[in-house]
């Protein structure tokens, strides 16, 4: 039959005991080791019992003293950490898995999530005429406009009505920016989850983040899903209380909005096992953005012939971060990020001042805003554009508001660099950080509707970039000084069917932060702003002003761990 197999089996059967005999010495060694282990186990246990006994005596003594000294001084006592015998000695019979052996000793949350609340308030003053400096820095002039929602252009600087969304724009005087509620927990062996909810001073509640993240995928992969701050760039995934300055830098604030890329979707990151830290990631996001990849409301979409909002996801990002090994006390990280919005819609408005006296002559015009000029014609549109508004002034001058609808897609590039030095000094003394990012946003749009029908179909590419560089230094224990320069619009231009280049806005900011403890911060900040508000053929309109903040940050509840 199957001769070789039978022979093999027989051979195996014969050799097995022989192998066992030759392994006799090894067995004796193993037994000896086991005996040693048992002995050490018992010794360990006795030691542990002795020390537990002494601890118990001590605890009793402490309790007695406490009770005697001040019976009222024990408002709340965390549960005593209980450890099994096996855990105390660290010896557990091989093969058994007693729960808790591999766990961390913590103050114990008994299945409650870690909760912290961060209070963020300030006192603000600036020397603008209307005290609207904090709003102006977020409306620095950029080609193609910033906010995509029906933004209240210029008419009233105070009205910050971008889609009715509550924004933490400081007004002169006292502001409570937010109370931020943070909950996080490990859901099960497979997921961590967290949620951040901010309640503004006016009581508006915003769900900033609510996401899960995997914890047990192999090969260095992690998946995040839900609503979260994108890992595009560096500062994008930080909440305002983590910033080194009270306010967001100009490029992020103007090219991405107050919240940055905060969207709903999924993220995949890969941390390959390499000798140098390298993180690669990509995200697919719904695209509900305020600035980058913004879409307009339904009424405007119809009026301006822009078409409906595409179904999501409409925003895609990819990023890579690399950190060379610089020893224990230095850290440097360099990142490159890219984002693509498959749909971007914008509306541009410009006003014509037209004299409409009966004895009509060459009319005077005034463009309150940028673009689309060269007017020979009298703007009497027989084609009945819905996007035309007329206001007849008492002096017989008609103000015509022309709206141009544009649609297309948008790209965003980012480069970031962060360096941190951890000094040996007490409470952050001597610590130094440097952080810089460059953002370049480019919107490739086509005119879909215009008061000037010949322009429909014409292409407009709007490019605006920006840069910030900031450094902080711990000049005393618990005291930190910061300096920031940020600029928007190194390139600030429109190209395509029309070519024009605009100026830039920039700002110098200096601040001092006092970390009284790990849980509280007080900060004073001064900034000199030079903001380009508008630009047309008559020249630039600028606001130059100083702005001053006093800020407090209070952290209640559990110790947060901050990522790099």
């Amino acid at each position: 039959m199957n001769q070789p197999l039978v022979r093999g089996a027989l051979l195996g059967a014969l050799l097995t005991p022989a192998a066992a005999v030759t392994a006799g010495d090894a067995d004796i060694d193993a037994l000896r080791a086991e005996l040693d282990a048992m002995r050490s186990q018992y010794e360990g246990r006795i030691r542990a019992l002795e020390s537990r006994l002494s601890d118990a005596e001590q605890a009793a003594e402490v309790a007695r003293q406490a009770a005697g000294a001040d019976a009222l001084s024990l408002p709340m006592t965390a549960p005593r950490v209980l450890r099994s015998q096996g855990q105390a000695t660290g010896q557990v019979p091989a093969g058994s898995r007693s729960a808790g052996l591999f766990d961390a000793v913590t103050s114990g949350t008994a299945f409650n999530p870690q909760i912290s609340v961060i209070l963020d308030g300030n006192y603000y003053q600036d020397d603008t005429e209307d005290g609207n400096g904090a709003a102006l820095v977020g409306e620095a002039f950029q080609a193609g406009g910033g906010y995509g929602h029906d933004h209240d252009h210029g008419a009233d600087g105070h009205a910050h009505a971008d889609g009715g969304h509550a924004h933490a724009v400081a007004e002169p005087g006292f502001n409570l920016r937010s109370a931020e509620l943070y909950f996080s927990a490990t859901v099960d062996p497979y997921f961590d989850a967290a949620s951040y909810i901010t309640v503004s001073g006016d009581g508006d509640v915003t769900l900033e983040e609510a996401y899960f993240q995997t914890r047990s995928l192999p090969y260095g992969l992690r998946v995040k899903g839900g609503k979260f701050l994108s890992d595009f760039g560096y500062i994008n995934n930080q909440h305002p209380h983590q910033w080194d300055f009270v306010d967001q830098n100009l490029p992020y604030l103007n090219l991405l909005g107050f919240h940055g890329i905060q969207d709903t979707g999924v993220q995949l990151t890969w941390l390959p096992e390499l000798p140098v830290y390298t993180l690669l990631g990509a995200e697919a996001l719904q695209g509900d953005q305020e600035v980058f990849g913004a879409t307009l409301g339904e009424t405007e979409q119809t009026e301006l012939n822009l078409g409906d909002t595409d179904s999501g996801p409409r925003l895609f990002t990819a990023f890579a971060k690399v950190a060379p090994e610089l020893g224990r006390n230095h850290a440097l990280q360099i990142g490159v990020s890219y984002a693509h919005a498959t749909q971007h819609q914008a509306m541009e408005t410009h006003t014509h001042m037209v004299e409409t006296h009966a004895d009509e002559h060459a009319h005077e015009e005034d463009h309150a805003h940028e673009d689309e000029h060269a007017h020979e014609e009298e703007h009497a549109h027989e084609d009945g554009h819905a996007d035309e508004h007329m206001h007849v002034h008492t002096d017989g001058i008609t103000e015509e508001l022309h709206e141009t609808g544009l649609a297309g897609d948008a790209d965003l590039w980012g480069i970031d660099l962060v360096y941190k030095y951890d000094a040996p000094g007490a409470y952050g003394q001597g610590d130094f950080t440097f952080q810089s990012e460059y953002l370049r946003s480019s919107k490739d749009l086509t005119i879909r509707s215009s008061a000037h029908p010949e322009r429909i179909g014409s292409n407009r590419t709007y490019t605006t970039d920006g840069l910030y560089a900031q450094a902080t230094y711990g000049f005393l224990p618990k005291w930190k000084a910061g300096l920031r320069y940020d600029i928007l619009g190194l390139t600030n231009k429109v190209s395509g069917g029309r070519s024009e280049s605009f100026g830039s806005s920039d700002r110098w900011t200096a601040n001092v932060t006092w970390n009284l403890s790990e849980f509280s911060q007080l900060r004073a900040q001064y900034a000199y702003n030079d903001i380009l508000v508008g630009e047309d053929e008559h020249g630039e309109e600028r606001e130059q002003f100083s702005a001053f903040y006093l800020q407090f940050l209070m952290s209640l509840g559990s110790h947060g761990a901050h990522e790099f």
């Binding site: 965390a78 950490v81 660290g90 961390a104 260095g220 941390l271 140098v276």
Partner: protein
């Protein structure tokens, strides 16, 4: 026949991991323990002895080290909580997360001091789970070493006997050294610490803790705090010890007023210390306290 033997050899090779354990230790004390138990392990120590383990920040280099680690050895009891949870979560390495075999916490292996107490931050940065600084007590560290040996034996069964034997040897050395330390510290007048970071050592050798420079954990002293402490301790003998990451101003001022020696001593041995290095580190502390 020959092919059969080769098969067995190949099986043995596959069964016993040829690679040494990849271990990440948060502090040099934990690193010293790892070297004592597993001299051949590939070890990365995340923090130097002159840095405050409680105030460290997560860095990409830490995440990289944790990415491929088989075992993470932490002091634990919330000492590293400001950075280690963030770093180990970012490392995308499920094996070293708390609750897994690859996560080892020294504080979870031994009984802790300062357990309980009010969870009230008016009392400073308190940790009701217990004082985490177990690494300055050589006896507790011997227990931790044996637990670590057992853990490494589970992770790398091929070298189990060696891990256990090394841990035993370390524990025996500590036992041998104990009488000498006890003799040196017998009748020591006591010490003022900056922070309650050496209470395990003081308690082990029955040396009185005369006070702390910081009035409550994590809060630096005011002039009034120092004057009160000086008033309480005037006329007594003792030594003032502070870690290099603490501001030396307060300790020096108190030292001048009381006429006591001021010793800046790191909480951990040098980064490259092994078991012997750790014992020498205890020697330094013992002679500093005895020198009062």
């Amino acid at each position: 026949m020959k092919r059969w033997m080769m098969g067995v050899a190949a099986w043995l090779l596959l069964a016993t991991p040829v690679l040494a354990l990849d271990v990440v230790a948060t502090s040099p004390s934990m690193g010293a323990l790892v070297r004592a138990v597993a001299p051949s392990a590939q070890l990365t120590v995340l923090a130097g002895p002159d840095r405050d383990l409680h105030a460290l920040q997560a860095k990409p280099s830490m995440i990289r080290a944790l990415r491929g680690a088989d075992l993470l050895v932490a002091v634990g009891a919330e000492l590293e909580m400001g950075w280690l949870p963030a770093a180990s979560a970012s490392a995308a390495n499920p094996d070293i997360l708390p609750g897994r075999e690859g996560y080892f916490e020294a504080a979870a292996q031994v009984p802790l001091l300062d357990v309980g107490g009010p969870a009230d931050r008016a009392m400073g940065d308190v940790h009701p789970a217990g004082n985490p600084h177990v690494d300055l007590d050589p006896v507790r560290m011997a227990q931790v070493a044996e637990a670590l040996g057992a853990r490494m034996a589970r992770l790398d069964p091929g070298n189990a006997a060696s891990y256990r034997a090394n841990a035993r040897r370390f524990a025996e050395t500590v036992e041998q050294r104990l009488p000498q330390w006890q003799a040196e510290l017998a009748g020591a007048p006591g010490a003022v610490l900056y922070h309650r970071d050496a209470v395990y050592l003081l308690e082990r050798f029955d040396v009185p803790l005369l006070g702390t420079i910081e009035p409550v954990p994590g809060v630096p002293p005011s002039g009034r705090d120092l004057r009160a402490l000086a008033g309480k301790l005037s006329g007594r003998d003792g030594v003032i010890i502070h870690a290099p990451h603490h501001s030396p101003k307060g300790p020096r001022k108190l030292g001048r007023e009381l006429g006591w020696p001021v010793e800046p001593l790191p909480l951990s041995p040098p980064v490259n210390a092994d078991g012997d290095g750790y014992l020498q580190h205890i020697d330094r502390w013992v002679s500093a306290i005895a020198g009062a």
